[in-house]
Symmetry: C2
Subunit: 140 residues, 2 copies
Amino acid sequence: MSAPTISHLGIAVKDLDAAIRLWSLALGRGPSLVTEVADQKVKVAVFPAGPTGGGRIELVAPTSPDSPVSRFLATRGEGLHHVCIYVDDIEAHLRQFKSAGVRLIDETPRLGAEGHRIAFVHPSGMNGVLLELEERSGKL
Amino acid sequence: MSAPTISHLGIAVKDLDAAIRLWSLALGRGPSLVTEVADQKVKVAVFPAGPTGGGRIELVAPTSPDSPVSRFLATRGEGLHHVCIYVDDIEAHLRQFKSAGVRLIDETPRLGAEGHRIAFVHPSGMNGVLLELEERSGKL
């Protein structure tokens, strides 16, 4: 298996518009997309990867008090929220984690917002990091 | 300015050896380098970027109770610690942040472990994210 690549990094924020202004300054450009993910009750601003294909940076703000991101903000405050890595075979990855006793949020893959198969690994199993796996389709 | 690219993502951990075993499973390979950064009183395990050049993942464990990472672990616990992005002109970036009233840790660049110019932006100014800027030298 080749070394996985960072798909994106999620940052939990309270005020999406203010955060977009700030991160546009940091990243030298505005977001390529601002969209709502109804499933997760969040709005997301996507800053695309640079020309060499590194990961995207996504600002994530809750649209409802019962969004998972609202719960994160209430307990941890704003900050780095999750990292998503591409994997070749998501089911093989989940099996390996399970054999190693790592706690999973998703025992089986589900469809992400962009139609790829994704699964979350619980932070308690990964040094406090909420890890998302995303199955790459074809060559990156 | 081109869109900045993620240089690396730092994860604060307590037990480096245990974390290396876990993240080797997640990333499908072992670290390419395990080294001590005396300046920061940390040991770092570096998992290189994938073949498409995305960012590295670095596990960071303190070697002393007065390491900045020990303080982070005491207050926040293990988890995502910082993100580093490449920038073309680090001084121009710092000036822009300063004009926008963003709090800086480093007002002027300093030399990082690998000899590149780096500077940290304070998490209080960046939605709780400890942001590192790294000046790229030549083409990535």
